[in-house]
């Protein structure tokens, strides 16, 4: 095509989204908000995987779509992570009556 999107645009988008996710993880107290921020970071990683698959050369031993398979696996792991994460948050909420990560301080001396 005459005006393709450059590779580094996707990479910069992913880097920015990852940094925003990091901001969320560092600044939010609520555990569910932290989970949301982690989802943003995982999505940024997925964008990178697909972009490199599309722009990079293929290695015959890795098949035609290695980036996509990895992206699907990230999808799976992200969903499982949210499922278990919210289960843990519910447990902690019942025990500590709070969903703030700061209040889970039983282990702190």
């Amino acid at each position: 095509m005459e005006s393709d999107i450059p590779l580094d645009w996707f990479l910069l988008f992913a880097a920015a989204a990852f940094a925003i996710g990091l901001i969320g993880v560092l600044t939010r107290k609520n555990a569910i908000a932290v989970l949301m921020a982690i989802e943003i970071m995982l999505n940024a990683a997925n964008v990178n995987l697909v972009a490199f698959w599309r722009y990079g050369p293929l290695r015959p031993e890795a098949g035609p779509i290695p980036g996509l398979v990895l992206a699907v696996m990230v999808l799976t792991v992200a969903a499982a992570e949210v499922a278990v994460g919210i289960g843990l948050i519910l447990l902690c909420y019942r025990r500590f009556k709070a969903a703030d990560v700061d209040q889970y301080d039983t282990l702190s001396g």
Binding site: P6, I32, V47, G63, L90
Partner: protein, 208 residues
């Protein structure tokens, strides 16, 4: 035209991500997150991974966001506000950390070269062609892009079969673990004396 489309979508996506992170209301944060997922799906379409874009919408918007919303409803007041969150104290260091990370990553992106092609990422302006009629080494890629679901199935069943079965195992482990963790309502019921139990609306809780 494609470049403009990309710029619009990515700007919207980053704005949504920022709104997710900064929004005090958790349900609204979840809504911004949904918008961000949708923007990422649009980027997948621009990368010609339309099957993955459909999966992105199906899994993230259709399932994960619902789970997040349910999680909010089960742990917060229904309006989802986050009164204890006091972002101002941590916002500055968080923003600095995020900004530094972004600068580091963009510096790396501007300097790094492809492993095999030795081409700089920053100058990789065009993707390997898949237009019909193009011969050469990109043929398997063309087949994969034109029939992505099928290619993904073949790969999962042959080359990545271990990963596929492990994914099944992971899902079952997640299911069993989450149920084992979450399903202990009776054990903690007597000690629950927060606002909800004593409020008159507790009657409607039995309706729920």
């Amino acid at each position: 035209m494609l470049r403009n489309l990309f710029l619009v979508i990515s700007t919207l996506g980053l704005a949504c991500a920022l709104a997710t992170v900064l929004s005090r209301n958790l349900v609204r944060a979840g809504l911004w997150l949904v918008a961000f997922f949708f923007c990422v799906a649009c980027l997948f379409v621009l990368l010609e991974a339309e099957f993955l874009a459909a999966l992105q919408v199906l899994v993230y918007i259709g399932a994960v966001s619902i789970l997040l919303m349910f999680g909010i409803m089960l742990t917060r007041g229904v309006q989802g506000t986050d009164p204890t969150s006091n972002p101002s104290a941590r916002l500055a260091p968080g923003l600095v950390a995020g900004g530094v990370l972004f600068l580091l990553l963009s510096y790396g992106i501007s300097r790094e070269r492809g492993l095999r092609t030795q081409r700089s990422w920053a100058t990789t302006g065009e993707r390997p062609a898949i237009e019909p009629g193009t011969e050469g080494p990109s043929t398997p890629r063309r087949d994969a892009i034109n029939n992505m679901g099928k290619a993904l199935g073949v790969e999962l069943m042959s080359r990545y079969v271990i990963a596929f079965e492990l994914a099944g195992l992971l899902l079952t482990a997640a299911l069993v673990g989450a149920i084992a963790v979450a399903h202990r309502e009776e054990a903690f019921e007597p000690s629950s004396k927060g606002a909800p139990a004593s409020s008159p609306a507790a009657e409607s809780a039995s309706v729920a």
